[in-house]
Amino acid sequence: MPTRSSTVHPTAKSIASYVKKNAKRVKRAQKRRHQSSESVREADYRGHHIVVRTHYEIEVDGRAVMGHMGVSNDGQVHYHPVPNLSFASAVDLVKQLIDIFPDDFGSRAHRRHRMQHRASRRHTHI
């Protein structure tokens, strides 16, 4: 049965008021970062209880990738910030992340500059 929410037109005031009320949940979702991801899969088989824990730590160019990576019961790997894809290989997944988030990985020239900068800092400290 449709309710008021599906029939009454919102107003600028009602939108602002609901967003204020729900903002805490949005902020909470913003604070989830994972230096590493653990996925727990459980199943029962012939009276035995199976628990499989999978642990991922991902780095690209030395920087940690901190979204949550999970494994579903069929072994497919998925990454929460990319909701419509799953992969047989975690490496293939990370390759795809580099394509999907170009702003977070920078251009090849930018990366080269960063690597050179890092190398020169190491040289200075020797």
């Binding site: 449709p2 037109h9 939108i15 609901y18 903002a23 913003q30 970062r33």
Partner: protein, 318 residues
């Protein structure tokens, strides 16, 4: 009287109104700021349209329950169909408001009709024309959502998810990479097949389930993303991250998914599982659980099972 949701490919007026309405919502600021929503960087007003981007991302990053890593408050579980129906209706109400047209019905994109064409023809479908959604590119250079960098009011991506799953502030044109990651859309054979899937959903209530919901969401195929998922992946660009409502095509895709669900409900009866008596680990997905909300009061799956007094589709032939 119920409004009618039309096919965007056959209704030029609906196409124009949708684009106009989206651009109006993109320029409407009702008070919320990035600071209010915990988005890092300088505090800037968030448009009504962008609040839908924030809402989708928030629901998607809310795991249900938090102790597992698959289901979230809008995807990969039973609530997928009702939550998106709730979201579509809120957008439709807002479009009606800014268009000052209470008879406006959200148009759907029958992507499986385009899926009947060759891969090359699919990329040239009339939905990607200048008078519809515009084309592919980084940024998109045609249509109502193209970037005009000299115009501060031009359509821009202002908030998006980054690789770590956080919302961040940006300023770039809409990006699409049509037909790049997968070369073809779902077909009529796919939509016809999913209508035979029963029940609506089934244990383990996730991406390995065998019911209708998992089929239409697009996890049930052994050969990669299918149906709803495949459309996101085929369009590519801003349709890929959890901030995918950034591309107005998002709502056309989901309106078609909603139409397929409506065809299923018409065929098999307006039933939904899990019922409220299901275990608490399914909280957020049960028939009377409150669904994730941002711009309005929350709704429950039970509230959206029969919307025929509010809207109908011009066709349920999927």
């Amino acid at each position: 009287m119920a409004i009618t949701r039309p096919n965007i490919l056959t209704d030029a007026l609906a196409r124009k109104k949708y684009a106009d309405g989206v651009n109006l919502l993109k320029r409407e600021f009702t008070g919320p700021t990035t600071k209010n929503l915990g988005i890092s960087g300088p505090s800037r007003p968030v448009s009504t349209y962008d609040l839908f981007v924030v809402w989708h991302h928030t629901a998607m990053t809310t795991l249900t329950p938090p102790t597992q890593g698959d289901r979230n408050a809008a995807h990969r579980g039973p609530v997928f169909c009702p939550w998106h129906r709730f979201m579509l209706r809120q957008l439709e109400l807002n479009l009606q408001r800014v268009l000052n047209d209470n008879a406006f019905g959200l148009p759907y994109w029958d992507w499986a009709a385009d899926g009947q064409k060759t891969a090359r023809q699919q990329k040239k479908s009339s939905i990607w024309a200048s008078d519809a959604m515009g084309g592919s590119g980084n940024p998109v250079k045609t249509g109502p959502f193209k970037l005009n960098s000299a115009d501060p009011k031009s359509f821009r991506i202002r908030i998006e998810a980054d690789v770590n799953g956080n919302l961040v502030q940006r300023s770039h044109g809409l990006r699409r990479a049509i037909g790049t990651t997968v070369s073809t859309l779902p077909t009529k054979a796919d939509t016809t097949a999913v209508l035979t899937f029963r029940p609506y959903d089934v244990a383990p209530w996730d991406t390995t389930s065998s019911g209708f919901r998992n089929g239409v969401e697009g996890w049930a195929s052994p050969v990669g993303p299918a149906l709803h998922n495949r459309v996101h992946v085929w369009v590519g660009g801003d349709m890929l991250p959890s901030s995918s409502p950034n591309d107005p095509v998002f709502f056309m895709n989901h309106c078609n998914v909603d139409r397929i669900w409506e065809a299923w409900l018409t065929k098999y009866g307006r039933n939904y599982v899990p019922l409220q008596s299901a275990p608490t680990f399914l909280k957020g997905h049960r028939i009377n659980d409150l669904m994730s909300s941002l711009v309005s009061a929350a709704m429950r799956p039970a509230d959206v099972l029969d919307m025929r007094s509010i809207y109908v589709y011009d066709s349920l032939s999927v």
